[in-house]
Amino acid sequence: MTIHRRGLLASGAALALAPLGLASLARPAIAQGAPLKIGMITSLSGPGSYLGQDIRDGFLLAVEMEGGKLGGTAVQVMVEDDALRPGQGKQIAERFLKNERIKLLTGIVFSNVLGAVAPDVLDAGGIYVSPNASPSNLAGKECHKNFWSIAWQNDSLHESAGQLATNLGQKKMFILAPNYQAGRDALTGFKRLYKGQIAGEVYTRLDQTDYAAEMAQIRAASPDGVYQFHPGGLGIAFLRQYIQAGLLANVPMTLASPSMDSTTLNAVGDAAVGINVTSHWNSDFDNAASKRFVAAFQQKYNRLPTYYGQQGFDTALAIGAALKGTGGKVDDTEAFYRAMKPANFESTRGKFSFGNNNHPVQDWYALKVENVGGKPALVTKDRVLTNHGDAYASQCRF
């Protein structure tokens, strides 16, 4: 009896201390003079995980192209999956910051995960360089010296689309987005620069996959054009159903880049010809950095890079420029800030600079889906906005 009991007590003790064991198990050994660690938290499971995959692949490609270095500093990128759950992302961030003593983090796709992770990173004195999500609070009132956005502030995507719709002379637009913060921001952003009339405004469900009801509403409203923002798989489903409903032939569609990337295009095929898109980058950009990137990405991963891939790549380049400036040090955030701010890197999108709030100031382009050599492709047309920052920069004081 006593033996049994002792066994039980021992197993109880083992369980109580299990977290310690687990934590040390999950840590790779740290060698002296090891490369600089960069923590990447991104979405690799669940719907929309291909976005995280492209960000990761683009980032790692930049590291590989420099032979395992960024800006001359050897780096080790630790990638973990947040499974699109804020809590999970936070847990990983905590481990990265405390156990791994990582100061430099990146990778998050979705703004709700970012909302949980960013305050922790910043309060702990870390630096976060965002390859995708950039919600308005972090660009405005709650902006931070150590928070950098490489892609765009969320609203800019939609502002450029609103401008394009105005430029195209569409007088009556029907606009749709999923019912979550980024979706609501999208429609607000679109309306900010759109001069015409809104024929209808519909919020879809984030877990919705069948849009038949919305198609009927659009048809009934007979607008001049449709603007919709549905990232990832949602956007693909929406677009296919739009085409299947025969709407694309009558009602042209304008999109921001997250709703029309090369994956979407593959999915939709020829039927997508004629769709208008605005973006800060496209794979046909005629600059050396972009060409080099597209060729390398295709060679390594055997697919055309999406915007997400490009954003991951540019994020790595931006970090590289900063590391070059600090000699590979990230401990002095003030020095890192000074080195990062000039954006001394050859961006794949050509012109790139940071605004006062550490968010990009860049040009936006109109793209159109056209048939190129028998296959639909996004073709860059004209510039929609020049040196466009964001609406929140004026509220930002470090």
């Binding site: 719907p47 919020y203 069948d210 038949a212 009801a213 949602l234 296919r240």
Partner: protein, 304 residues
């Protein structure tokens, strides 16, 4: 008016898809007493198999067969390896084990086919529109889904009411012991019923493929709604599943189409849209809660 009719058709089409999923789920529920959260995974498997085959061969027929075969085969394998051991367990164990299966299948699809969503096109013959009523053009493909769903409902009705297997299935839903006493190989019957359910889930998945994007996790997006259908209809009742599915499809579609508009009458536009979308999402759950409060065992309970 035309808009309303079109919305009704949309509601029925959604309902029919839900029915294909719910029919299998309700039989498995009713006969084996198993809560199978992994039913959505079979839907996903059907969609994936069809999408992959369509891309590889370009044949709609082959893609159809592949989707059905894969879902049914994996369904029966699943029954044989895992679910069979859960019949005697309580619902908790079933929920836990099938929850684990969901994780496994979703990540398995990522490992096999990657994270990029896959696509299938609507078969050539089914592209285009048909004028169902003056002023209403409706996609042929969606009409075909409605038709297939109704044919399956009819087929199931005949199978259950007119055949020996159906007799056993019916008896199984109400008098388990009696079926055992008749000397029927219950294990085989269960495997077959499970396979049939999986087949229907696969059919729903492969038909949804050209409309939606085929991706990991697609099963869970529809799974919970399917459970709502099953419970509203009454567990074990195929008739209830059909009725519940069409009801849920209609309610969901109509609420989504009209609630934001109604709210706009009383509040500011974007607030109304956001809240309306939320209320519309709650609609089917509210419907289920109401049905259960009035009829705690659903509309057509099989255990009379």
């Amino acid at each position: 008016m035309a808009l309303l009719l079109e919305q009704l058709l949309n509601g029925i089409q959604l309902g029919v898809t839900l029915f294909l999923l719910a029919a299998g789920l309700t039989l498995v529920f009713g006969i084996m007493g198993v809560i199978n959260l992994a039913h959505g995974s079979l839907y996903m498997i059907g969609a994936y198999a069809a999408a992959v085959t369509a891309t590889a061969t370009g044949s709609a027929i082959l893609s159809l067969l592949a989707g059905l075969a894969a879902a049914a085969a994996i369904g029966m394998l699943l029954e044989y390896v895992v679910l069979r051991r859960l019949y005697a367990r309580d619902h908790l164990d079933q929920v836990l084990a099938t929850f684990g299966l969901i994780l496994f299948f979703n990540q398995g699809m990522v490992l096999l086919f990657g994270r990029q969503p896959l696509f299938v096109n609507v078969p050539e013959a089914l592209q285009g529109f048909v004028r169902v009523l003056p002023g209403i053009d409706y996609p042929i493909y969606r009409l075909v889904i409605i038709l297939v769903g109704l044919l399956v409902a009819l087929g199931l009705y005949l199978l259950i009411q007119r055949t020996r297997i159906g007799m056993l299935v019916r008896a199984g839903a109400t008098h388990r012991e009696m079926v055992r006493a008749l000397g029927v190989d219950v294990r085989l019957l269960y495997t077959l019923v499970f396979g049939l359910g999986a087949l229907l889930a696969g059919l729903a998945g492969l038909m949804a493929g050209p409309i939606l994007s085929v991706q990991p996790g697609m099963g869970e997006q529809i799974l919970i709604t399917t459970f709502v259908v099953v419970v509203i209809g009454g567990i074990g009742s195929v008739r209830g599943a059909l009725f519940g599915a069409v009801l849920v499809g209609l309610v969901d579609t109509i609420l989504r189409a009209y609630v934001p508009g109604l709210l706009r009458q009383v509040m500011e536009g974007s607030e109304a849209d956001a809240l309306g979308a939320g209320l519309a999402s709650m609609g089917v759950y509210l419907l289920m809660a109401l049905v259960l409060l009035v009829k705690p065992r659903g509309l057509f309970p099989a255990h009379a």
